[in-house]
Subunit: 484 residues, 2 copies
């Protein structure tokens, strides 16, 4: 079989990481900034993020979460209090040491050193915790549910757009509760919310579950996670939701007076997702001709692509655009030839090519992005009737395709030899294996085989077998995979 | 006449700056952060900001502006290219010099110095300019209209919540055009957009006009501004819109190929407003009992305040809440006595106090925030019919009251003695005086009299008299005022 020519070079099977960068470039989603490690999110990529934000923000608010904004600077001494966190990620961070630039000839140099150095937030965990401490007095103030949309910084010397950059955008939710059960349920329900978002909006099948001891957030009692498989078989963690018990409240001092008048530590949670989700979406759906976007989050769901800029054609399109309410529609008025490929590379779910002949015949020629080599012809009535259903079908098709891909790359093993073999495969896989909790062993496995435990998956019915490493019967099924 | 007891202490006439801080505290809008110079925007204050963002963002998009996101770090060498900007504000800025913290006993200290220090954006003018340079090739790429919602930093040692903090939130729009007229019109239309927002949404009367030479943005051909009078008679600049001509494009190198194939510098604009608008709104409308919010931006337009938490009362309220569609309604279920004052201090436009007696009588007792010592009683039908109109009236009343206040504090002078006298008045004023452009004189006036030129107001019909300082006939009416 002949290979079709592809719009993206290299193609996935030749060089997956390079293909990823080229898809982003061709779709004009983002680019590397002049400043090392940072990215510019271009309008098309940012519109995608706005759709993600809009959905999640509404969902959070429906749960009684309130947004607020906290300063991005953290005094270094505040990090010293929370050693465990610092081990986690606060070490690779931007440190502000001066508050002025002064001229030295033609050059500018730092001047006015700060009394105490400031770190730019890698997370606002501690800053928000300090506010909780101040804001919470009695059980009447609970639950307190706060979310922040903000930029955070983790200095990164080997950046990859959306996946790993020094600065990125995210949301972090923090809640405090009077009961353990309520806090645990909150962390779990946030996982549900994210999972629904991933599956229904981003069309990404995920495994939900708990993190293992080694992968758990510092200080968390339970870290819930959702993990998706990329088209190279590697796992990507979409986000996490942590139940902290009273660990965090004890470290920071978040106490309230309970109904009986006694001082009590609050039970807390935190949960977040970031612009990384865009990276996941790109890697799960796109093909060798570029980006493919799920209709529900696509900035444009439909693009009208006129063959000419004749007034008759443009008027016809505008008329149809105003008739099709409730869809996000873009009209390409650039008058550039070859713009068909532009929209394929930008992953717009439905493209309608229109010329005078189509107007005369009263037909619509449409192309659906995930199967763009086929053309469909509709009468005007059919078009109006079926447009919504076509978008829904494309949404579902993308999910189903990703699910089939993933199912094909899952392997269950019940012995070490099978595990070793699976780890070595050229195309990576999700390896399901019984494992008995052992933090030391986890790092050993990572070092030896390159895979980590992505999660102990929930709601799956497995036969319980002994741990393939230790033989212990106190085992659970864990998903091992190479990961981003 | 006896002074009424007030909920805020001190009252405006005793200590205006202190009153301002207390209003913010009582309304739970924001608080000073642990980090010097920064603020925490609390949920109620952030909800206000979200309403501001939502309105402006829609308005920008309706004009074809696209949002994007740019890195917050600027290499110091980039600032060196643009000396004029650095003089403006880039000197008081946060400088990142290290990219890691390392442990030294129990302490953490900066380590891994960066090869080149980074500045946290005081504005993204240059970062966005660099992208424009890359993104714009031909006239077909113009106009390019980009906006960013982001945090920016200008190190501030004497912070005032919302008015002046080291970190604040803002939007900055940047556009590039092929014709001077189009760019100038863009800058002007953005001023119109902001002006409409100030007057219609925030109920703040403003003067719109051009900045004088001394107050103009570095590199701008024209800086448009809108200036509002606070309740101490001082001026506050609400925002600015700059027409840069080709000055900025020349400095950065933003060129495009025009229709004839020649390389041409683009004509650019930039425009922005910040969380400072919240400060303006507080200072213009609030009274000695606390915050007063214009209904159009208030997080809650109506609060139901039950006298008891009886199920019958709460059910009655919920029923009415679901019946009153299209309003932002809050139900106080705290069961705290004295919550009436909480809502007065939070500036909710309409408060409905409800007890069993009101349910039985079928009446609503309402209180309108700006005249909260009066009570109004409505039948249920009247309430439903008139609620929208009541909110609209409150919106208009706030505007009218602010306008009357301002009119009362304006003075026109045509000679230096009258000017000097006006500058010395205890309660500040807006002083209208003929002035002939002279940058040196402006700084002299500022030093001598404490006032600056806020703007040359537009669309006002004044008799042209000679400059009160120089006697020159080449004069325009300028507004002089003490300012924030």
């Amino acid at each position: 079989m002949n290979k079709k020519r592809s719009a993206i070079s290299p193609i996935r099977e030749d060089n997956y990481p390079e293909w990823y960068q080229e898809v982003i470039k061709a779709a004009e989603l983002a680019e590397h900034a002049v400043v090392r490690g940072c990215m510019v999110i271009k309008p098309y990529g940012y519109a995608l993020w706005e759709n993600i934000v809009s959905y999640l923000d509404k969902s959070f608010k429906a749960r009684g979460v309130q947004n607020a904004y906290f300063p991005m600077f953290i005094p270094v001494s505040h990090l010293e209090r929370e050693a465990e966190h610092v081990e986690g990620f606060a070490t690779e961070t931007a440190v502000v040491t001066h508050r002025r630039l002064k001229k030295n000839g033609d050059r500018l140099e730092p001047s006015s050193p700060l009394e105490e150095a400031l770190v730019i937030r890698p997370t606002s965990e501690m800053v928000i915790g300090d506010c909780f401490k101040k804001w919470i007095e009695s059980y009447r103030d609970l639950p307190l549910k706060i979310n922040q949309w903000a930029n955070v910084v983790r200095m990164e010397m080997r950046p990859r757009l959306f996946l790993r950059t020094s600065e990125f955008l995210w949301q972090e939710g923090h809640t405090a509760h009077s009961s353990k059960e309520e806090a645990q349920a909150e962390a779990k329900e946030m996982l549900d919310l994210y999972a629904k978002f991933m599956e229904k909006e981003l069309a990404i099948p995920i495994f939900r579950g708990e993190k293992s001891e080694a992968e758990r957030f510092p200080g968390a009692v339970t870290t819930y996670t959702f993990e998706a498989m990329m088209q190279d078989g590697k796992a990507l963690q979409g986000g996490t939701s942590h139940f902290m018990g009273t660990n965090f409240a004890r470290a920071i001092g978040i106490e309230y007076t309970n109904g009986a008048g006694a001082k009590t530590f609050a039970e807390t949670t935190s949960w977040g997702v970031s612009t990384r989700l865009i990276g996941a979406m790109i890697m799960v759906h796109s093909d060798d001709d570029g980006l493919i976007l799920p209709p529900r989050v696509a900035p444009y769901q439909i693009v009208f692509n006129p063959f000419s800029l004749d007034e008759a054609v443009l008027n016809y399109i505008e008329e149809w655009k105003s008739r099709l309410k409730g869809f996000r529609i873009h009209v390409d008025k650039s008058g550039m030839c070859g713009s068909k490929w532009k929209w394929i590379k930008k992953g717009v779910p439905i493209r309608v090519d229109i010329g005078m002949r189509d107007i005369e015949s009263g037909k619509f020629n449409i192309s659906i992005r995930s199967k763009h080599h086929e053309k469909y012809t509709f009468t005007q009535d059919e078009f109006v009737d079926q447009l919504g259903a076509l978008l829904e079908k494309e949404q579902q098709d993308l999910y189903d395709r990703a699910l089939a891909y993933r199912e094909d790359k899952m392997v269950h093993v019940d012995n070490l030899d099978a595990f070793k073999k699976a780890c070595k495969e050229k195309e990576h896989r999700f390896i399901f294996a019984p494992f008995a909790a052992n933090k030391g062993l986890e790092s050993e496995i990572k070092e030896k085989y390159g895979v980590t435990i992505r999660c102990y998956p929930e709601e799956m019915d497995f036969e319980t077998k002994p741990c393939i490493f230790s033989g212990s019967n106190d085992s659970r099924i864990a998903i091992f995979a190479h990961s981003y």
